[in-house]
Symmetry: C2
Subunit: 547 residues, 2 copies
C-alpha cells in the first residue's frame, strides 16, 4: 500500500475518521492474508508533524496488528546496519529479542512525512525507534545515493528490496542524469534475486526535470512499486524498454477531488516465487466513495443559452439533477457494503465559459448538506484559461497593497508586507499551512528578542525597534521567504497545478481558488474510467493525482 | 524521580543536551541498582508537544534501558483496566506478551505534559501506547476523582501505588474541600499495605486555594512522592499531623535561576519492606552546576555609596569578583566529576536600591561567555518593591496604546489589540510560548476562512471583512483570551511570582523582565543552604521552585 495519508482531514466532522478506518482495514487485511510483511511506499502520515491523535492511533494499530505470535518465515541476509540507519536499533524489528513482531512493516518516507530538522528525523522514525516499523531507504547524503537492498530469503525465493524515500524530484532527476544514483547488487547469484524497488516520486511529467522517468531506473529490476501518485494503477504494467513492471497502488484516501482520485482504491497482495510474481488487487471497503462529473454548459444549446431567461436557474437545476444522479449511483453501489461510509464525495465540474454566469454555491450546498461528505465544494466552476498567471499572484498583490497603504498612513506592522503576502499566498494554496504561522512566529520572536534585549519600555521605542528591525533583517528574511516560496511552488508543481507549470499547456483553467484540485485535462472521466480522460491532454501514462 | 523536563532548552548550544544526559543517567541508575520499577512524578516532558527529537530520544532511551531479559519480581493484584486507562492496552507493559520489559516505568503526568485535545491524550500516552511506560493516575472526570491504587506484591511486601496526574491547583483544592476526592483501599488486609501516593501539585502556598495542603491527603498513606516542586527535598519528612512522610525529589534540571534550583539535584532509591522504608539519596552527576549569590549594594558603605566617583564601575568590579569567586568554587567542586558539564550556571542577584544605577549587563556577559553556561543573564538587578503591580501590565498597556493609535489612523489590523496585548504579555512571561502563535493562527485562520468562503477579491473587501470580523467575534475571542490569561496567571502563580500573588507580601521585587525567575524572598541562600532562605518570607515548608 502507499499514500495512506493518516490524519488527512482528521478534524472534519464527517471525514475525520476515514484515514484511520482505512489504515485499520489495510493492517487487518495483511493479517487475514498472513502477509509475510507489509510494504508501504511513503506518506503514511499526511502531516510532517502528525497530531498526537494521529501518532497515538497509528502506534495503537501497529501494535495491535503487527505484534503477536505468528512466526516470520523469511530471513534477512543483508547488512541490517546499512538497511536500517535511522535509529539506535539498526536491525529489523522482528529480530529484536524484546519485541514479538508478527508482521514486519517496511516503509520508505514520502514527501509529506519526510525527514526534517538537524537530526534528519521523520515521523516514521518515532515508529521505528519504538520497534513498530522498519524505516528504510533513507539516504543520508544529498550528493549521491547508494541504494543498498534488504536481501530477504524465504524458501528458495530471494527478494532484494530496494527503497528510496522521497527526494525533491528535480534534485533526484539531476542525480540520475549525473550518474549519482547507484543501486547495489549482491555479488553472488545475481540472477537469482527478484528485485523490487519502492520509490516515492512524480511518475508523470510535471516539467522537464520535475519527475523521474522510468527509463532512469535500472533494468535489472523486476518490479517497481511507485508511491506518491494517487491514482490507483495497481495492476503491474510492463515497461517494454526496461523490461520491468511498475505497479502504482495509489493512495488509500482521496486528498483532492480530481478524476484520478475517483478511481476505485485498492491495495495489492503481491506473491513472489523465484522470478514469478502475482499481484492480487484487493479493493478497500472503508474508502469513501467519490464521484466526479463534468458539465460543459455550452453543450446544452437545446436547453439554454446565456440569453435564455432565468438561465442561471436552469443551470442550477441541471447541476442539481447531475448531483442527484451521482448520489443515486453512489447509493446503489454502496448497497451491501456496510464498511463504506454513508456520504459520498461528489464533485461536479461546470465549464461556464461562453457567457454563462455562476450561481451561488453556498445555497446549492445547503441542498446536499445531509447527503454529501463535501457539501461546501460540490460545484467547481471552470472557464477556458484566461490570463491565469495573473491570478496566481492576486492574493499576494492584494496583501501587498494593503500593507503599503498601512505604511503610508504611518502604521508600522510587526509583519512585513512581503512576508505576509507570500505567507498568505501559501496559505491559500493550502499546501503550506504552516507558512503564515512560521513566518509570524519568526517575526514576533525576532521583535521580542529586541524588546527584551534592549529593555524597550516606551511605545516610541517599540516603534523604533520594529522600524530598525524591518530594515536590518531583510536579507535573512528574504532568504527564508524565498525558501518558503520554493517549497510552496514545488508543492504546486507536484500537485500538477498547471498554472505554475508553464511547460505543459492546458486549455482549461480553474476559476475558483479551490486549491485541492489538480487541473487534469478537462473534460475528465467519471468514476471507473480513470484512465480514459488522460489521453486528451496528450500526456503519458502515469499522469495521476498526487499529493 | 520527577520533573525531568526532557527537552528543556534543547536548542541551546550549551545546555541543549542537559535533560537528555540526565534522563539517560536516571535510567542507567535504575538499571544498575536493579530497581523493581521506576516511578516518575510528572513533567517527564518540558513541552506539552515535545519535539520530534525529544520524543525520539525518549523512546530510544526507554527501549534501551527498560527492555531486556531481567525478570520482574512483583505481581500486580489490582484491576489493571482501571489502573491503566489511557490506551487500548490496559495492562502493565511487562505483562504484555509481545514486549520484553526489564524495568517497568510508572508515571503520572505533570502540568507541562498534561492531556489536551478532544481525546484527552498527553505525550506520555504515545509512550504507553508503544508499551514503553505505564501512564497511571489519569482521572477522566472533572467533577470528582476516585484514585484506585495499583496493588503490587513482592514477597510479603504489599505496595498500594496511588497516583494523581496534575490538575489545576484551585480546582483540585475545591474538590478536596467538597469531599470529591476519594482514595480507594483494598477491602482485605488494609493494614498490610504500604500506601504510596504520587502527586504533581503546588506543595507550597501560592494563594489561599492555589496549592494542596498536606492535611488534605488521607492519613492512611505511608509516603507521598511530591512532584512539581523543583527544589530537591528528597529526604522524607514526617507530617506530624497526618503521620505520613513526604518526599520531594525535585527536578533533575534547573528550569529557573532561582535559589531552590541551586540545591543539589538527587533522585531516590526507595526500598520498602512491609511497612518499613528507606530512601537512599542518589546525587545526579550529569546535572549542570548552578550557583546563586546575592549582593546588596547598600551593604558596602565602606567601599562605595551612590555618590562615590565611578561608583558604577566599582559595582561592576564587585560583581565581577563575586562571579569569579563562584566560578572558582564551581571548578573546585567539579574536580573528579567527569560527567558534570564544564560550564556552570551562575546567577548574581544585585539589589541596587538606595540610589545606585545598573551597569550594562551585555558588556559584563562578554567577560564570561566562555566560562558560564548562561552568560547573557548572569546578573539580575533587583530593587525593593516599587509599584510592581503597574509593571505587571506595562507591556500589555503599551501594545494596547500602539494598536489604538493604529486604529485612529484608520489602519485595521488582522490582530485585535486586546488579543495581541495579552498574547505578548504571555509571551514576555515566557510560560506561554504558544500564546501569540495560537492567537495569531486563530485570527488568521478565521480571516482566511472568511476570505475563502466569501470569495473576497478586492482590497476593500478584505478590509471590510476584517472589520466585520473583529466586531462579530468578540465574545468567542474574549473567552479564548480570558482562558489564555487564566492559564498564564496560573503559570505565574505557580512560578511564585509574587507580583501577581497579592496574598503574600514580599519586600523585594524584580526590575528586569527576567521571567524565568521565581521571586523567592530575598536575600536568598546560596547553594547548599537551599532551605535557609525561606524563613524570611514567612512561608511554610515546601516552598520551592517549580515549573
Amino acid at each position: 500500500a502507499t499514500d495512506i495519508h493518516l490524519g488527512y482531514l482528521e478534524k472534519d466532522a464527517i471525514r475525520g475518521n476515514d484515514t484511520y478506518d482505512t489504515l485499520n482495514e489495510i493492517l487487518e487485511c495483511a493479517k487475514t492474508n498472513q502477509a509475510d510483511f507489509i510494504l508501504l511506499g511513503g506518506d503514511l502520515f499526511h502531516e510532517n508533524k502528525p497530531s498526537r491523535r494521529c501518532l497515538h492511533s497509528c502506534i495503537t494499530m501497529l501494535r495491535k496488528y503487527c505484534m503477536g505470535d505468528s512466526p516470520i518465515h523469511f530471513n534477512i541476509l543483508s547488512d541490517q546496519r546499512v538497511n536500517f540507519n535511522t535509529t539506535q536499533f539498526p536491525w529489523v524489528n522482528y529480530q529484536d529479542e524484546n519485541l514479538n513482531i508478527s508482521i514486519p512493516v517496511f516503509s520508505v518516507h514520502g514527501n509529506h512525512d519526510d525527514p526534517t530538522g538537524a537530526e534528519g528525523l521523520c515521523a516514521l522514525d518515532l515508529l521505528s525507534a519504538s520497534g513498530l516499523i522498519n524505516h528504510f531507504g533513507h539516504s543520508q547524503s544529498v550528493e549521491s545515493i547508494e541504494i543498498s537492498p534488504i536481501l530477504m530469503q524465504k524458501g528458495n525465493t530471494k527478494l532484494a528490496l530496494y527503497g528510496l524515500g522521497s527526494i525533491p524530484d528535480e534534485r533526484l532527476y539531476r542525480m540520475f542524469v549525473n550518474n549519482k544514483v547507484t543501486m547495489l547488487r549482491p555479488k553472488e547469484d545475481q540472477d537469482k534475486w527478484f528485485n523490487l524497488f519502492t520509490i516515492h516520486q512524480n511518475r508523470s511529467k510535471h516539467g522537464p526535470t520535475n519527475y523521474i522517468p522510468e527509463q532512469f531506473l535500472d533494468d535489472f529490476l523486476d518490479l517497481v512499486v511507485w508511491g506518491h501518485e494517487h491514482e490507483c494503477l495497481i495492476t503491474p504494467t510492463r515497461n517494454e524498454q526496461q523490461l520491468f513492471y511498475v505497479t502504482q497502488p495509489g493512495s488509500s484516501v482521496a486528498t483532492s477531488l480530481s478524476p484520478g482520485e475517483a478511481a476505485k482504491k485498492h491495495i495489492g497482495l503481491l506473491k513472489v516465487k523465484g522470478h514469478k510474481m502475482n499481484m492480487q488487487k484487493i479493493p478497500l471497503k472503508t474508502v469513501r466513495q467519490f464521484f466526479i462529473q463534468d458539465v460543459v454548459l455550452a453543450d446544452y444549446e437545446d436547453l439554454f443559452t446565456p440569453d435564455t431567461p432565468q438561465v442561471t436557474k436552469k443551470v442550477e437545476d441541471l447541476c442539481y439533477a447531475k448531483v442527484t444522479e451521482m448520489l443515486e449511483q453512489a447509493e446503489r453501489e454502496r448497497l451491501g457494503c456496510p464498511l463504506t461510509p454513508e456520504k459520498p464525495l461528489i464533485r461536479l465540474r461546470v465549464d461556464y465559459s461562453g457567457g454563462f454566469e455562476t450561481f451561488s454555491t453556498s445555497r446549492f450546498s445547503q441542498k446536499f448538506v445531509d447527503r454529501v461528505a463535501n457539501p461546501k465544494d460540490i460545484i467547481h466552476f471552470l472557464r477556458r484559461r484566461e490570463a491565469m498567471d495573473q491570478q496566481d499572484t492576486q492574493v499576494e498583490d492584494l496583501v501587498k497593497q494593503y500593507f503599503e497603504a498601512a505604511e503610508q498612513k504611518g502604521q508600522l506592522s510587526l509583519l512585513t508586507e512581503q512576508g505576509m503576502g507570500k505567507a498568505i499566498q501559501e496559505f491559500v494554496d493550502k499546501d503550506e499551512k504552516d507558512a503564515i504561522q512560521e513566518l509570524i512566529t519568526y517575526q514576533l520572536e525576532k521583535t521580542q528578542r529586541h524588546l527584551q534585549a534592549r529593555g524597550v519600555t516606551t511605545e516610541q521605542d517599540i516603534d523604533a525597534e520594529v522600524r530598525e528591525d524591518s530594515k536590518k533583517n531583510t536579507t535573512e528574511e528574504d532568504n527564508e521567504i524565498r525558501e518558503a516560496m520554493n517549497r510552496a511552488k514545488a508543492h504546486r508543481l507536484e500537485r500538477g497545478d498547471d498554472s505554475v507549470d508553464a511547460g505543459i499547456s492546458d486549455e482549461f483553467a480553474d476559476v475558483n481558488m479551490d486549491s485541492d484540485e489538480g487541473s487534469v485535462p478537462f473534460p475528465a472521466p467519471t468514476r471507473g474510467r480513470g484512465r480514459g480522460g488522460r489521453g486528451r491532454g496528450g500526456r503519458g501514462r502515469g499522469r495521476g493525482e498526487l499529493s
